[in-house]
Amino acid sequence: MFIAYFTEQPDASFPQEIGDELGYTALLLPNKYFNAEAVSELYQLRLREYQRAEEVGFDGIMLNEHHNAPFCLQSKCNIFAAVLAAATDHVRIELLGNPLPISDNPVRLAEEIGMLDLISKGRIISGFVRGGGTEQISTNANPAYNRERFVESHDLIVKTWTEPGPWRWEGNHFQLRVVNPWVQPLQKPHPRIWMPGVASKETVIFAAEHRYPFVALSTTFETTKKIWALYDQTARAVGYEPGPETKGYELRVHVQDTEEKAIAAAQHYMWMQGEFTGVTHPVWHNPSGYGSPTWRRQFVEMANGRRQNVANVGKDVTIQDLMSAGNVIVGTPDQVIEGLKRVLDELRPGILNIWCNDGRVSHETGMRCIELMGQEVLPAIRQYADELGLNSPFDIDAPVSLATTPQAELQPVGA
Amino acid sequence: MHLAYFTEQPMSAYPEEEGRKAGHTALMFSNRFYDRDAASQLYQDRITEYKLVEEVGFDGIMLNEHHNAPFCMQSKCNIFASILAAITERVKIVLLGNPLPLTENPVRLAEELAMIDLVSQGRLVSGFVRGGGTEQLAIGVNPAYNRERFEEAHDLIIKTWTEPGPWRWEGTHYQNRVVNPWALPLQRPHPRVWIPGIASRETVVWAARHRYPYVCLNTSVEDTLRVWKLYAQIAEEVGFQPGPEHRGYLLRVHCADTEEKALANARQFTWMQGEFTGLAHPVWSAPAGYNPAKQRQVLVEIAHGRRVARRDVGFEQQIENLRIIAGTPDRVVEQLRVIMEATRPGIFMIWGNDGFVTHEDSMRCIELLGREVLPAVREIAAELDLKDPFEVGAPVSEAAAQQQPSALRA
């Protein structure tokens, strides 16, 4: 079992009433409300928390990336990955991930990640994402080619990492006549690639076809099981038997010494969902051409106010409602262990990303949560995972991709 | 005086005979000869050295960026700048700099630099460069629009840092309909911008027009003085009196316990100049459109072997004319005084180690520079009144100067 620590790195230092007034807190929330002094201090606190997470025994630190968005201070995950490469010693740096379509030069991205892997002595897990719809607008990347760019960028990066240069790439979206960077990742054949996602069918299939672990982000048990079924079917069709090492799950877990304290801190998980609409303003979130055409009807209905935005649970939903679904776990160490065991029973992941702190949770509270995780929760969960045979890709040294799986081992079934 | 430490971060761990066989060690020199394990270790050594640099009293650490080039392990200076933000506490992180034309999205660069400034608690100096000609080919960027892209990217980044969003940019090379990043630098109005160069007239003029310090990279004393003259002429047009705070100078300096050792290690500064031609393969370093039209004749002649490119003279002569300074601390101080008196910079970049100089010798060099050379240099600087932009509180730019009350203007 691989267990990583995660936080969105929220910035709650802007005047909240502005968000209420505007009805959104992303993309167009004027950045005159950006408080540089407060953010600089937040970065220092996050760094201390990450160092503590390493000390108490997490296997990894997960980072993500968002633009024009106070809910996540990672405007470029590679920058903070470099900070972690320097400030930590052995914990893996799990990027979930670099949004490929918003980069206009995948070779430069390959160089950056190569440097990170070398400096961190091989600790990079290089996840790739499409970027949210809103990200396409904030970086002015054409949403209509989002998936094409994702796939081509991925192919170019992996080739850059594995095929000695110089060679030439004349692609549909990217053209480089000399690919020969004088930087290569330390890990061979290349750093592990994990694919996070919510439920986009195309992404699940892409991950399974490449034998990349799929990390389901806070999806319900029911949805997650559907994702696993699709993944497994695809995996078998290309010829390998997918185990827990191909399944990742990210969920919100907050632990404190008492249940009251835990619930009080966990209220902040609602910060993004209840308090503001910004993270999922439906028009910005689904620019035309970004989503699968099969969802067009739902998209236009949401965008034009004819259907409730599924991503926004709204102010009427409470943390208790979320807890009752089982994929938000809050309480004392014992309660959290019990909840997590249920997650392991239900979903059998080999990779667990624990999203501990959000909103305005204080540094002290955040640190206490991390410590209790390390001291009490992680050992119990690791033991239980062992009992269930939930191995991570590292535990069983799984191939990093289908391309690097020996041909003889592949036995396609039901293709 | 601002004293910064610099090394190209050379990646010497490749089979030299392959470089000789290829006749070049840049751009097309196959990365199959790249040694990942050695590279990882070299980065660890650099980290240890940079920590010592801060400890012994340097004011800054300078980084640069090159692609497809064993002579420099900085494929992206912002990545290593983030490393420095995490491992140092006090030194300025001086990027000389981000090659602007290589980016397709200057707003993302502005975000990255803002994050570095925030994480380092305001220690960023954000230099900008055009990127060498070879860099354009390594990155697949059109050299014919290099200067246009440089200027437009610069304008867009400064506006992103200083003008509250959301607003729209419909430029010639860049279009962003929503500029409103939730990452802005800690320093106001924005981090200092220093412009390094090797005396390209257009760049000197551009820097002076913006009131940005110009950092001469390893130029001769004569060339350096010519740059200052041009800079002063433009400054006068703009309406400010340039001082040492507008002048930076980068020089190769190696210090060791004995004269012999210092000279032996300093010889490594010619590693790039002697062993391989890659740094300046004439066709790759001057792609059509990259340079001003008036240089076209000279460049095509060089590209076709009809003219010999002006190259650095031999090691002994470089030692002789103080292009390279090497020796024991006393001797180094003595020679630096000559340079400082002649060029009067307020910003001094000391390029300490290159080529195959060992980690141990690099550490010793840094130690000697910090403990013995820097205090003496600071005294000389005080004597010569060589102040840096921080000491005199110079406006970060002409635009910023215009916005300050006239009493604050230099």
Binding site: I137, P143, A144, S288, R296, R297, N304 | R168, R177
Partner: protein, 264 residues
């Protein structure tokens, strides 16, 4: 897509060019007049077309990727689109025509005319995009819901309701989304204008009528002024009480202008 007001029907036809199926509506008699639609697509046989059809044979093609025309997966620029339409009318044997471009279709028309002046006898640009506005910006539809954006193209919301109804069906919203996607595919950046077209316009001597809605909130009138200044044989007319979608708000006024200009 059906419009709410009762409209005359126009015969439709599918033709093939560069291996792609193109859909067009055609009615009327007389000389050829081609109308090029907005980036939101053509809502049907509009009264404006019918009025022109009294004097001309009016053809309104769905652009490749719009309406019932097949999506060209390869297409990357508006100039590509203009070349394909020129090939289409070469194939159809249209030797002379009046080109009427509405909004985004105005850009397409201007591109087509610069490539083939001998076919384009008269050019009409209505609220045309295609040049960067010297003042103001072309409204970025990607920040607005589909319906809100279309409403912003009308001076009077009653006119929106007259054409599209109080609550357009979800199918209409989906059509707008498909058209918006196609707009992204070929005109995302720079958004709805060309950086090079202005340098070609001075070579276009075709008599040109430029028309702008007085209350166009989508394309600044400065674009019209820029066209007028660049085109040697042009004039600019402004229609009061109209937004961007002049042909839907003020069909009588617009058709009168066009017929006076081109129908003599």
């Amino acid at each position: 897509m059906a419009v709410t007001e009762a409209l005359p029907e126009a015969p439709e036809q599918f033709v093939e060019v560069v291996g792609e199926k193109i859909h067009w509506l055609q009615s009327g008699s007389g000389d050829s007049l081609i109308v090029l639609h907005h980036e939101i697509g053509n809502p049907g046989w509009l009264p404006f077309y019918e009025q022109l059809a009294q004097r001309f044979t009016v053809t309104v093609p769905d652009f490749p990727g719009w309406g019932q025309s097949e999506r060209p997966l390869w297409m990357r620029s508006v100039r590509d689109l203009a070349v394909e339409l020129n090939l289409l009318f070469d194939q159809a044997g249209v030797e002379e025509t009046v080109l009427v471009g509405l909004g985004f279709g105005g850009w397409v028309a201007a591109e087509m005319a610069t490539m083939n002046q001998s076919r384009c006898k008269r050019l009409v640009l209505v609220g045309a995009t295609g040049v960067q506005p010297p003042e103001g910006e072309i409204l970025d539809q990607f920040l607005y819901a589909h319906m809100d954006y279309v409403k912003m193209g009308f001076h009077d919301n009653d006119n929106f309701r007259r054409v599209y109804g109080e609550e357009p069906a979800t199918e209409q919203l989906m059509d707008w989304d498909v058209h918006r996607e196609m707009t992204a595919r070929i005109a995302w950046k720079p958004y709805l204008f060309s950086q090079t077209l202005p340098y070609l316009l001075p070579g276009l001597t075709t008599p040109t009528l430029i028309v702008w809605g007085a209350d166009d909130r989508i394309v600044p009138r400065s674009c019209g002024e820029r066209y007028r200044d660049a085109l040697p044989n042009s004039r600019l007319e402004v229609i009061e009480g109209a937004g961007h979608f002049v042909e839907m708000e003020k069909p009588d006024e617009l058709s009168r202008l066009v017929l006076d200009f081109a129908g003599a």
